[in-house]
C-alpha cells in the first residue's frame, strides 16, 4: 500500500460521515475445515466502487456472500452504520446481488423476473410496473419485457439480472464475477453500462473479479486479496482525471494502473517472477 493517491472525487458521493459497511476481523471456516477468510477487515464508504481482486480460492466470493448475509461469519463482525438493521442483522432491501450466472427463472418473462423482488415484498404488478419498466429501460431491454430468458443472449440475460438487482433501489450492489462467462466485447459493453449506472444512481458497488483489466477500468478502489487463507493483501484507491470510456482504455494512466495492480496481484500469488517483471 505504498502508492496512495488522492481519492477520486466522483459525483454524486456526498462524502458521508458514516461508512456503509464495516467488516471487522472477519474469519470464515467451512465445515470441511477449510479456512476461507482469515481476519479480514474492510470498510466501504457510500458511493464507492470497490473491486475485490484475487486468485481463485482467495475468498473474495465468500466475503461477498458474507456481506450479503448468505453466509455466517465464524468470528468477527459486519456492521451497517448507515442503515436500519432487521432481525437477521441485515439492512434488508438495501442490498442486491448479481450472481456469476444470470440466475433467471426460465418460466417467467423478463418482466416477471425483474418483478420478483417486488412481488416478494407483496407489491402488486400494477404498482410495480412503472419501476420495472424504468429498470428495463436503464439496461436497454424495454422492448424485451415479454420475452422469455431462453430467447435472450448471454449478455441480455445478464442485463435482466442487473435490472432485477436495481428494481428495489438498493444502496449496495454486490456483483460476483458477473461478466466472467461473457465474450470480451459484450463484457466491455456491460462494464460501461455498470459504470454509467454507478455514476447516475450513486449506488455503492462491490465487484468481485479475477480480471486486472476489469477492476482497473471500473473501480475507484481495488482491494487485492491473497489466498489460503483469504485476506486483504493491498488496498489501492484509484484516481483518474479522465472520463472512463474507450479513451481511458488506451490511456497511459490506465496502463500504469493495470501494471501496478498486476504487480500487486503477482505478489499476492507469490509468483516467483514478480521481481523480474518490475524491470520492464
Amino acid at each position: 500500500m505504498t502508492d496512495l493517491q488522492s481519492l477520486e472525487q466522483h459525483p454524486p458521493s456526498p462524502s458521508p460521515k458514516r461508512p456503509l459497511v464495516v467488516m471487522s476481523n472477519v474469519s470464515k471456516s467451512f465445515s470441511s475445515g477449510t479456512l476461507a477468510l482469515s481476519d479480514m477487515s474492510l470498510t466501504v464508504e457510500s458511493g464507492e466502487f470497490v473491486s475485490l481482486l484475487g486468485p481463485s480460492g482467495c475468498g473474495k466470493s465468500t466475503a461477498l456472500r458474507i456481506i450479503s448475509g448468505l453466509g455466517d461469519v465464524t468470528s468477527g463482525t459486519i456492521d451497517w452504520p448507515a442503515s436500519r438493521i432487521n432481525a437477521k442483522g441485515l439492512p434488508e432491501g438495501d442490498i442486491s446481488f448479481v450472481f456469476q450466472e444470470p440466475t433467471l427463472m426460465p418460466w417467467q418473462t423478463v418482466f416477471g423476473n425483474v418483478y420478483l423482488p417486488l412481488r416478494l415484498r407483496g407489491i402488486s404488478k400494477t404498482a410495480a410496473r412503472q419501476d420495472i419498466m424504468a429498470c428495463l429501460e436503464t439496461v436497454g431491454l424495454k422492448d424485451f419485457a415479454d420475452a422469455y430468458p431462453r430467447e435472450l443472449s448471454g449478455g441480455m440475460k445478464m442485463r435482466v439480472s442487473i435490472a432485477r438487482a436495481l428494481v428495489t433501489k438498493p444502496k449496495l450492489l454486490l456483483m460476483d464475477e458477473p461478466f466472467a462467462a461473457l465474450d470480451e466485447i459484450t463484457r466491455q459493453k456491460l462494464n460501461d453500462d455498470v459504470l454509467r449506472l454507478w455514476r447516475e444512481t450513486g449506488i455503492t458497488v462491490i465487484f468481485v473479479t479475477h480480471s486486472v483489466f476489469e477492476s482497473a477500468y471500473l473501480s475507484n478502489r481495488i482491494v487485492v486479496m491473497k489466498a489460503r487463507p483469504g485476506r486483504v493483501h493491498a488496498d489501492f484507491p484509484l484516481a483518474t482525471s479522465l472520463e472512463r470510456g474507450p479513451l481511458y482504455r488506451t490511456s497511459e494512466e490506465y496502463r500504469a494502473t493495470c501494471e501496478k495492480v498486476s504487480q500487486s496481484l503477482l505478489e499476492a500469488i507469490g509468483f516467483p517472477l514478480a521481481d523480474g517483471l518490475e524491470m520492464h
Binding site: 440466475t103 427463472m105 420478483l116 416478494l120 431462453r150
Partner: protein
C-alpha cells in the same frame, strides 16, 4: 426460402406427421382382414376387423356403460393421485427427517404388486367400485410422488439463494420457485400416472371380478371370453386402447401447454 414457401413446407410436414401414422394403421387393419379371409380362421379364434366393428355397434348398449365406468374410475384415481402425490411430496421435502421417516412407506406401497393387495382392499372397501378406485390410485400415485419429490429438490441453488436474499417466506419460495421449477417433473409424473391408472383400473377389476350393471370394460372383456364372443372381446379391447390413447393425448397436451413457452423438453432445436 421465401416466407410463403416455408409456411407451405411447414404445413406439409404437419400433414405428413398426421397422415403417415394413420395410413400405417389403415394398412395394418387391411392386412388383418386379408389374412383372416385368406386363411379362413374361425371367428371364435380371430375375428376380422369387420366383425369387430359389427360387435362394437351391436353391443354398444352393453359396452358404453362399461366404458363410462372404467373412464370414471381411471380419471378419479388419477385426480386423487395428483392431489395426493403433489401434497405428500410437498410434505416430504419440508425436512430431511420427514422424508427419511415416510418415504419408505410410499416405496413399500408401490413395490407390493397391486393384484396381491386387491383381495384385501375388496374386504375393507364398502363397494367394489371404491376398491377399484383405491387400487388404481395406489398405482398412479407413486410415479407422481417420486417425480414431484425429485422436482422440488432439484431447484437451482442460486435461485434459492436469491429468494433467501430477498427475504422470501417458506410459502413464497414454494409458490413462486419450487412449484414452477418442478412443473416439468410433475408433467412426467402426470403422463406416467395417466397410463398407469388405466392399467391399474383394468387389472384391479380382473382381480375383483365385479359383475352386473356397475362393471367396467375389464369385466365385459372377461365375460365375452367366457361366452366365446371373441368379436365383443376385441371390441372391448379396442375401447380400452382408445381410452388409453385419449388419456395419453390429454396429458401430453397439458404438458405441452404448460411447458412450451420455456422448457427445453417442449422446444424445437434451432439449428
Amino acid at each position: 426460402m421465401s416466407p410463403e414457401q416455408s409456411l407451405v413446407a411447414r404445413h406439409r410436414e404437419t400433414m405428413l406427421r398426421i397422415l403417415i401414422p394413420i395410413s400405417v394403421v389403415i394398412a395394418l387393419i387391411l392386412l388383418w382382414q386379408v389374412l383372416v379371409t385368406a386363411t379362413g380362421v374361425p371367428q371364435y379364434i380371430l375375428p376380422g376387423p369387420g366383425a369387430v366393428a359389427g360387435a362394437l355397434v351391436k353391443d354398444w348398449g352393453t359396452l358404453s356403460p362399461a366404458l363410462w365406468v372404467t373412464t370414471k374410475i381411471t380419471m378419479a384415481a388419477l385426480g386423487l393421485a395428483l392431489i395426493g402425490g403433489v401434497g405428500i411430496a410437498i410434505f416430504l421435502v419440508q425436512s430431511k427427517w420427514i422424508e427419511t421417516a415416510f418415504y419408505p412407506i410410499a416405496v413399500i406401497l408401490q413395490v407390493t404388486p397391486i393384484v396381491a393387495i386387491a383381495p384385501l382392499i375388496l374386504i375393507y372397501a364398502p363397494t367394489t367400485q371404491v376398491a377399484l378406485l383405491i387400487c388404481a390410485f395406489l398405482v398412479a400415485f407413486f410415479p407422481i410422488l417420486s417425480n414431484m419429490v425429485q422436482g422440488l429438490k432439484s431447484v437451482d441453488h442460486n435461485l434459492l439463494n436469491l429468494f433467501d436474499l430477498y427475504g422470501a417466506s417458506r410459502f413464497q419460495t414454494l409458490l413462486y420457485l419450487k412449484l414452477p421449477a418442478s412443473l416439468p417433473y410433475f408433467m412426467t409424473g402426470l403422463k406416467i400416472g395417466g397410463g398407469l391408472s388405466l392399467i391399474a383400473a383394468v387389472v384391479a377389476e380382473f382381480a375383483a371380478g365385479s359383475a352386473g350393471a356397475g362393471s367396467g370394460l375389464a369385466f365385459r372383456l372377461l365375460e365375452a371370453q367366457y361366452r366365446l364372443n371373441i368379436p365383443r372381446l376385441f371390441a372391448a379391447l379396442i375401447l380400452l386402447s382408445v381410452l388409453g390413447v385419449v388419456i395419453f393425448g390429454i396429458t401430453s397436451f397439458i404438458a405441452w401447454l404448460s411447458l412450451h413457452r420455456w422448457h427445453e423438453s417442449s422446444l424445437r432445436r434451432e439449428n
